[in-house]
Amino acid sequence: MSTFNITLHVWRQKSPTAQGKFEDYKVEADEHMSFLEMLDVVNEDLIEKGKEPIAFDHDCREGICGMCGMVINGEAHGPQKLTTTCQLHMRQFKNGPFDIWIEPFRAAGFPLVKDLVVDRSGFDRIIQAGGYISIRTGAPLDANATPIPKAVSDMAMDAAECIGCGACVAACPNASASLFTAAKITHLGLLPQGQAERPERARNMVTAMDNEGFGSCTNHGECESACPKGISVDFIARMNRDFVKASATAYDRAAKSDGD
């Protein structure tokens, strides 16, 4: 086992309205620990001393639930590409930096709950605004009844990889949720099953995104680089196209049903 000493500077804030500040912790890190396990060790120590442990979000610890977001030395999910914080290992820090700054995701759309925990339910509301897709239910269809070109289904899968962790918002200099919303709009928009509600979905999800107070896209490209799933900014161009087209042409269901 190889261990090394690090100093953590962790953002501590009791409540959404309390004044927060960085607190320092000296830790002996094992290179085989994950970043969250390292924080667990810190927390056990804090609990033993009768102090408040550092609050951070986590769930699956296998890189698929998207809960474990934090900004480590200025990078959402830390220095390793295509990796969530829970999958980040301390060996990444073996050769320094030994000073590690840990901050919560900072965005008006992600209000802080406590320490490193933020409220990402804005994302849920964007998803909800997307609504349903109309599909035929009943007896299962033959799997190949709806042909989809391989390239298209691959691209839809790439978009569907988004785990909604919010790293795109955290990394964006404008705290924009464009990459997330674009991925969600695209993965249904590409597939035949998603066509019926495609224009409404684009309009409603973009409106919801704007209502949550996220910034707009300047095309810096930081989101793609921070995304643990490597979602491409190409989807943002696709969202813009869908949205403009939908705004110009969408059949307005709400207006119609007002009439009857």
Partner: protein
Amino acid sequence: MQRALTLYQSTIGKKVAMALSGLVIIGFSIGHMLGNLNAYAGEVAFNEYAEGLANLPFIVWPTRFLLLACFGIHIASAFTLVTRNKDARPQAYHVTKHHEATFASKAMPISGIALFLFVGFHLLHFTLAPQLFNAAHFENPFWNFYAGLSHPVLALVYIAGNLALGLHIYHGFFSAFQSIGANHPKYNPLRRDAAVGLATILTVANLMFPISVQLGYIEAPAGYEAAMADAAAPVNDAPAGDH
């Protein structure tokens, strides 16, 4: 119209408006630069070009209105979006590390403000109130061009303004494709190349005007020095521009 306004209410709509207005202004900037190349062909060619334009009011005025509208839309959207983006992150990070954002992309609001000041200055200088800046004002476009750019301080303002323009277009021309949703895996890499190429050509060509005048590569027109000698009188007897 209703739909266009609804579209404009969204952040994406504003970005599309910025991109389209920016592209129109870029188009104009290219034409403007090409027209000015006449300066290398000498006084006669330059003035013929300038008067040719002046004799096309049905082209000049609609273009001016279009540009004014584009600047209005561009600036109004820029202001709303930049304010919104600031509000979207009320508390800054203690440490930030960027990978993809460029100096140009981060400086868009600053190069934008610089361009606003520069365009305002440029309009005053050559069109609205040249007497504010030049020792003398002439009825001859080439003489005015020369009078403006031979002044070292004004030449520096033109150099700074065009560096800001280059920086703005370096990111803007690339970004506009994304904003209007013009992307395709086959052509995506070209967007960056096109932006670099366009920004370079436009900036270098524009910078060369003040530099050429300063270095004497574009020479003072015949009679200019003599006229400047008695420039104490603001109205003077420079040869009129018609030939």
